[in-house]
Symmetry: C2
Subunit: 442 residues, 2 copies
Amino acid sequence: MTETVDLRVADLHPAVDDPALNSMNFLNEVAQHYPDAVSLAAGRPYEEFLDVAALHRHLDRFRRHLADDLGQSPAQVHRTLLQYGRTKGIVHHLVARNLAVDEDVTVDPEAIVVTVGCQEAMFLVLRALRADPRDVLLAVAPTYVGLTGAARLLDLPVRPVRGGPAGIDLADLREQVRVARAAGLRPRACYVMPDFANPSGTSIGLTDRRRLLDLAAEEDLLLLEDNPYGLFPAPHAGRLPTLKALDSARRVVYLGSFAKTVLPGARVGYVVADQRVAGADGTVSLLADQLAKIKSMVTVNTSAIAQAVVGGALLEHGCSLVAATVRERAAYGRNLRHLLDGLARRFPAGTSPVRWNVPAGGFFVVLTVPFGVDDALLHRSAREYGVLWTPMAHFYAAGAPVDALRLSVSAVTPDEIDLGLDRLAALVADETARRAATAEVG
Amino acid sequence: MTETVDLRVADLHPAVDDPALNSMNFLNEVAQHYPDAVSLAAGRPYEEFLDVAALHRHLDRFRRHLADDLGQSPAQVHRTLLQYGRTKGIVHHLVARNLAVDEDVTVDPEAIVVTVGCQEAMFLVLRALRADPRDVLLAVAPTYVGLTGAARLLDLPVRPVRGGPAGIDLADLREQVRVARAAGLRPRACYVMPDFANPSGTSIGLTDRRRLLDLAAEEDLLLLEDNPYGLFPAPHAGRLPTLKALDSARRVVYLGSFAKTVLPGARVGYVVADQRVAGADGTVSLLADQLAKIKSMVTVNTSAIAQAVVGGALLEHGCSLVAATVRERAAYGRNLRHLLDGLARRFPAGTSPVRWNVPAGGFFVVLTVPFGVDDALLHRSAREYGVLWTPMAHFYAAGAPVDALRLSVSAVTPDEIDLGLDRLAALVADETARRAATAEVG
C-alpha cells in the first residue's frame, strides 16, 4: 500500500521545484550530513565576535534613545518596543545616519523601509516592479541565489548580464537591454553587487560605476544595488563610493543588510527607495511608501525587538559600522590574505592549471579548475576529503556544470583554511589525474 | 514646472493601487490625524500588560532552555541565538507543546514553520497554493483585510462565501465551489476564522465545524484556519475545539499568532502544515517543507531574537497560553460585556433601529445602523464627534458602502468605551436625523 498523500508538488507554485529554491536546501543538507568537514562553503559571518550579552545592552540602549533623544514618554517607549509598529520601521533615522556617516549618502529617513533582512527588501522591490508578464529583471551573472529565488517566486524572469573580471560588462548590459526590448520585454532593473560580490568576489571600479549610472539614465533603467560586504575591504585596499553615493538622479534602489555588520540573528535589513512615483490622480509618493504597502501584506512590520537590538548596536558606535566592525574587518582581511597565499603555495602558477581571482575584499574567492564541478563532486569532496565548498553552477541558470567553485573565508580560522586547502588540493590532484586517465582510456 | 517623477504607479504591480492594500494605511492615517479621538477601531492588544523587563527575562529563559533542556553547548546556544538559523524556526517544539497543552492538537514539530507573524504564514501558504491563473481562494465574508491583501499581491482572486450569524453558510460554500469549478477555476482552499472572527465577531458552532470538515473532504478542499482570538472567550463562555483539533484527515492548514497572546512587537506567528506532498519523483514531503523553501526566499528565517522572546514567554507558563493570558482574558471579557451593555443602554431594542451581534468572545462587535457607512462618515466621526471605528465596507470586495461598522474593545478601558459610545450615539442620532431630513426634502 502506498503512503496517503494530500497534495502534489505539481499542483503548487512551480518555484518550489526550482533549482534556485532547492540550492540553499541542498547545500545546507550536505553541510549537516558532514559536520566534521571543514567548511569553505558557509557565507555566514564569523561567530566569535557575536555576543549574547550585547543583546541586553543594545535593547536597553535603544530604549534610552527613545526616551532621552527622541523624547518619547514611558508609554510611547513601551508602545514602540512592544506593540505593532510603523510599517517602514523604527530605526530608519539611525539607518539614515549610518549611511551619512559611513557611505556619504544623504537620504530622507522616510525613503527607507526597514525589512526582515535584505532578502525581504529584495522581495518587496521585485514584487513592486513585476507588474506584467512582459517584465524581466537583468542581473549580473554569476548571481546571488537569493535574488534568483525571490524573482522565481514572483514569476519574474532573470536575464543574465556578463560579469567578468571588471564586475560588470557594460557593453553586454546595453546589449541585453536592447535584446529584451526587441523581444517586447520590459527590463525593469539590473541587479548588481558592486563591492566584493557574492559569489564572484569581484568589484566594479570607480569609472565603471559612473558609466553604469550614465547607462542606466540613457536606457531608463533602475539599478538594484546590493551591498552586504562593502565594509570589508582587504587590508590596505580602499573602499569605493557606492552607486547610491554617486547617484544624483535617483536611479539606484539601495539594498542594505545588518547581517554581516551587526547580527545575522536579528534579521534586519533595509531598502532605500527615494524614487518619486506618480499616481494616476497626480499625487506623488516615494517608492518606499509603495514598498511599505506591499510589506504590510507580507510581514506587517519588522520585529521591533530585532530592530531595537540593531538600533542599540548602531548607537553604541555613533551609527558608524566602520567603527563597529574593526575586529571583523581585520579577521576577514587576514583570512582572505591567508586563503590567497595558501592557494599560491598549493597551486604554483608555473605548474598548476588551477586559477583564482584576487578579490579586493569580502568573503569569496572563485577557483577555476580543469574539470567540471557539480553536486556529485561536492558530495565526494565532503565524504572522502572532508572539505566543503560551493559549486559555481548554483549561481548560473540551470544547465551544465561550471568548472569553478566558490571558497568562503568568513566562518573559518586560518588553521581551518590551511586544513581545508590541503584537502581541496588533494581532491583537485586526484580528480585531475582521474579525468586524465579517463581521457586516455576514452 | 511639474515635479520630476521617476516611476508611475501604473507601472508597478497593480496591488499597490488596490483597496485592500490601502485600507490599513487609510485607517492608520485617520487614527494619526485625530490622536485625541477615542479609538473603537484599533484591533491591537491592550498595552498595560506588555512589559519591557519581560524581554530580558524571556531571552534569558530561552537561552537556559537551549542549554539545560536541549543540551546545547555554549557554542551551540550562541549560534542558535545569534547566527542565521533554521528556516522552519527554533521554537517549533515549544509551539507544538503549546498546541498540545492548550488546543489538544498533536502535531509533529517538523510540520510547523515559525513565521514573521501570522501574516507571513498566510502569504507563504497562498504563494504555495497559487500555481496557475485558474486558481482561486474562497474566503468567508466579511474577510480579514490581511488575507485579501496577501492574495492580491499574489494575483490570487478571492471569492466570497457567505458568513452569516453561524460564521459560515455551508450551503453557500458548496455552491461557490460548484460555481468556481463550473467556470473552469480551481478553488484551492477556503479561508475561515472559526473563533470570534475579525471583523464579524461570529464563531462557528461545533456541529458546523464537523460539517465543514466533512464538506472539505467531500469537495477535496483545504481549509485555512486562522485563529488569533481563540483564547479570548467571554466570561462563562466555553472554548470550542479548533478545526485542526477535529481534523483527522489533514484537511486543515492552521495559522497561529502570538501577537495577541504574547507580544505584537515580536512579530512571531506560525503555520501548521502537516499535509503530505508527493513529488514527481515519488518522494513525499510535508507541506511545511515546501513552505520553508518559499520562506527562504522571502525572509530567510524568523528573527532568532524575536523567537527567543516568544519561546521564553511560553516556557514561563509551561507552554500554556491559556495560563499566560489570565489577565488579558479577564480584561477583554470585561470590555466586551461593557460594550454590549453600553450599546443596549444607548440603543434600546424597542425604540432604536440600531442592531448589533453578541459575540461569545474576541475583540469585535458589528453594529448595523440605518444608513450607509463609508470613509467620509468615519472622517466626520473622528473630526466632529471624536470617535473612531472601522467601516465594514473595508472587509468586503470594493463597492457600495455597507450599513455597518466594526467596534473593537481590545485597546481601550471601560471609561473609554463609555465615552466612545456616547460619541457614537450622538453621531448615529444626528446622522439618522440628517438622512431623514434629506429623505423628506427629496
